[in-house]
């Protein structure tokens, strides 16, 4: 089932299915390595606020990224 990243509980690991939104948002996320198919681990989140994710399937250390609430409503993921 596809849900926005904003609704994922901390600790879960999810796969990015679809990113909606304008070109700007889109290519910024891509250059940061958040693209369709990537596995993300949700580290922390604040209800109705930002989310910290880790790109879980990277080789080497996993960089952390903060995504604002609006952004997280545009990134659709499913349980991985």
């Amino acid at each position: 089932m596809m849900i926005p990243l904003a609704l994922v509980r901390p600790g879960s690991t999810v796969r990015v299915i679809e990113i909606r939104g304008g070109r700007g948002v889109y290519s910024k996320l891509r250059s940061l390595g958040i693209i369709e198919g990537k596995i993300l681990k949700v580290i922390s989140s604040i209800n109705g606020g930002p989310v910290i994710v880790e790109i879980a399937d990277s080789i080497g250390s996993s960089p952390r990224i903060v995504l604002g609430f609006g952004m997280c409503m545009k990134i659709f993921v499913e349980e991985a």
């Binding site: 939104g21 889109y26 250059s31 606020g49 250390s61 903060v66 604002g68 609430f69």
Partner: protein
């Protein structure tokens, strides 16, 4: 060899990869470093000397790719794409190879003459990541040198390579293979470019332009359109794209995936993970510091502790400085009988009291800067941004805005500049206009003096309340600006969060000293001149020279120029605020820089043996209510000329005027509100 002079080498890389640290080591410069993405917001030029050859090195803001979103990124992108540096050093973060390589590939596609500094190998090793740099060099087709910028390891080798590679030209690379269909399309577009806009491919590589056009990069489209025949090219590319989209539905995604595939293939070959991913310090700290409930409490605790630390440690030193300067030095100068009385007064009552009182706060300011440097380097800034994002979004800002505000607690000038990293224009302008409300270190001595003069036991709490006002007002003004002037939806908030690192004492020390030096420099220049000027205006008046003892005789002083000027304000516009004329004078000159407020009060009230606060208390210069109103006024009204000049150069005169106007109106209104509130409670 001498022809190597005049060469320009650029440092490019993802944010926080250590470009500025390498720059400092190469040039002996003092570029600002810190552990969050977006520290460098302007290109900085330095000179590297090697074997008596001089090469210019340019430190650039960080970028993730050659598409720029914010002002700082545009500076970096334009430099690499348009200025054609003779060598690009791509600083690659060894702990985060994938992201760094994405940029490295983009720069290679641009066919720039490139070498790689594989930085932070120490941190990578700590995490059990070992990178085969020779293999990496082979796969990328360019030299790769492992470095540790903070210790200087690998830097000697880097210098040698710079010397060897600078000025070489780089041929075509097909580092990323885009697959049969796209590669054919790229060739087609290259042919179209050659036929229609041959000039553009003399300036930029044709493969690069073709890739960017197929990706529909708005910047490159604009570039092509600016040439005669460009529109024709774009029409043809549109057709090719349409054809391609029959086979590949999302072209941009497909191209990004091809790049990441290339990166993955490289990374797989070069990384030897020797240890399994364990629990790191960053994991542990973040589980508390970014916890949804504990996080905000820890933030308050951390900031409060830093504040107390700066206070407690420095108080005895401030007292000591004050005794030495205002007591001992002042009396010694007055005791020098060979000085003419006017000169003794200038040196003792003017310079020593005026500048000395400001300088006596140096220990406090240094401790404050130490705390700030610690916050910046440990990696906590991005965590604060995360924690406040939800709150800030209610005021039309993203969490990122907190970074300029925190920097602003040090000085408002770099705070205004730091807003460049905010992508959304409306948010950025709002942030730049509220940055002056961040209560800078120059305002701290004013609060200290007033708080110790009238609030004594609760002085610390009263000073702390200024910081709360500062943030609260910044948010409220932001809300007003976002509703009335800079309307528009909030843009998304995305920010990389670096791991925590234990700050190095040499870097923290350097940063503390650089900031303190600026404070001392200001004391010795602007403040000194200001203070001499005020002394001059205080010992003279419409009737001429009033005598060197004017400063110790309130009656005489009232007839000086400063007396007349102060009264012109205190009896008119400042009348409802119940401030003495001397306070008006301090505020007028404080327009130049906030330190002058304390300096002026020191001259006009005179300082006894026990310092300015005691002198103010004895003279009953302030009541708690007028004192608090004064602190509020100093918090809000124009921080200094330099900040206004920065707003002007960053955004234009219109906004500089707007900043001054809102600050003056708000300062006056709130100071008046404090006074009225005091009246209401009957505690004048």
């Amino acid at each position: 060899m001498s022809k190597k002079e005049g060469y320009i080498v650029a440092l490019a890389g993802v944010p926080n990869s250590g470009k500025s640290s390498i720059f400092n080591k190469l040039t002996g410069g003092r570029a600002w470093v810190g552990n969050w993405p977006g520290v460098t917001i302007e290109k900085k030029i330095g000179t590297m000397r090697i074997n008596s050859i001089e090469i210019e090195v340019v430190d650039l803001p960080g970028i993730y790719g050659l598409t720029a979103y914010s002002l700082d990124e545009i500076i970096a992108r334009n430099f690499i794409v348009e200025e054609n540096p003779d060598l690009v050093i791509v600083v690659v973060n060894a702990t985060n190879l994938e992201r760094s390589l994405y940029l490295a590939l983009s720069i290679l596609e641009l066919e720039a003459n490139t070498i790689v500094a594989l930085n932070m190998v120490d941190l990578a090793e700590e995490q059990g990541i070992v990178i085969d740099h020779e293999k990496l060099s082979e796969l990328l087709g360019i030299p790769v040198i492992p470095t540790v910028a903070v210790t200087g390891s690998g830097l000697k080798k880097l210098r040698e390579l710079i010397l060897e590679y600078v000025g070489r030209s780089k041929g075509r690379t097909n580092i990323v293979d885009y697959g049969y269909d796209l590669e054919r399309a790229i060739r087609d577009v290259e042919k179209i470019l050659q036929e229609n806009v041959p000039e553009i491919i003399r300036k930029y590589p044709s493969r690069w332009i073709s890739i960017k056009l197929l990706e529909w990069d708005e910047d490159v489209i604009r570039k092509v359109k600016s040439y005669a025949g460009g529109n024709e090219v774009i029409r043809k590319v549109e057709k090719i794209r349409a054809e391609l989209q029959n086979k590949i539905d999302d072209l941009e995604l497909f191209m990004t995936e091809r790049r990441y595939q290339t990166i993955l293939n490289i990374v797989k070959e070069v990384i030897k993970q020797t240890k399994a991913k364990g629990v790191t310090w960053t994991d542990l700290l973040d589980s508390i510091l970014t916890h949804r409930f504990l996080g905000i409490f820890s933030a308050i605790a951390v900031l409060y502790m830093l504040f107390r630390f700066a206070f407690e440690i420095s108080t005895p030193f401030v007292d000591l400085f004050s005794i030495l300067i205002n007591g001992y030095l002042h009396n010694r100068i007055l005791g020098l009988k060979f000085l003419p009385s006017w000169l003794a007064s200038l040196l003792a009552d003017g310079v020593t009291n005026g500048v000395g009182t400001v300088v006596s706060f140096l220990p406090l300011i240094m401790m404050f800067f130490l705390g700030l440097a610690f916050l910046e380097d440990v990696g906590y800034m991005t965590r604060i941004a995360y924690l406040v994002d939800k709150l800030f979004s209610k005021f039309g800002l993203s969490g990122k805005t907190v970074i300029p505000l925190v920097i602003g607690f040090g000085c408002n000038v770099p705070a205004v500049m730091a807003t460049r990293t905010i992508e959304d224009e409306n948010e950025r302008k709002t942030a730049a206009l509220i940055a002056p409300l961040a209560t800078c270190s120059a305002r701290l001595p004013v609060y200290m003096v007033i708080a110790y003069a009238v609030f004594r036991q609760v002085a610390g709490a009263v000073v702390l309340s200024m910081y709360i006002w500062s943030v609260a007002l910044a948010l409220l003004v932001a809300l007003a600006l976002r509703k009335l002037v800079f309307k528009g939806p909030s843009a998304g908030f995305v920010m990389e969060m670096p791991p925590y690192i234990m700050p190095r004492s040499d870097i923290i020390g350097m940063k503390m000293w650089e900031r303190s030096k600026r404070f001392l420099y200001k004391a010795g220049s602007v403040i000194l001149i200001g203070v001499i000027f005020i002394w001059l205006l205080s010992v003279t008046g419409p009737s001429g020279f009033l005598g060197a003892n004017a400063l110790s005789s309130p009656r005489l002083l009232e007839h000086s120029w400063t007396g007349l000027l102060g009264k012109a304000f205190s009896e008119t516009i400042f009348r409802p605020l119940n401030w003495d004329w001397r306070i008006s004078v301090a505020l007028i000159f404080g327009f130049i820089a906030k330190e002058i407020v304390v300096g002026t009060m020191a001259i006009l009230y005179g300082i006894g043996e026990s310092g300015l606060p005691a002198a103010l208390a004895k003279l009953h210069a302030f009541t708690p209510v007028t004192g608090y109103a004064f602190m509020i006024f100093v918090l809000i009204y124009v921080p200094c000329i330099a900040t206004i000049a920065t707003i002007r150069s960053e955004m234009g005169s219109k906004y500089a005027v707007m900043a001054v106007a809102y600050e003056l109106i708000l300062a006056y209104t709130l100071a008046l509100a404090v006074i009225s509130f005091g009246h209401l409670l009957g505690v004048m």
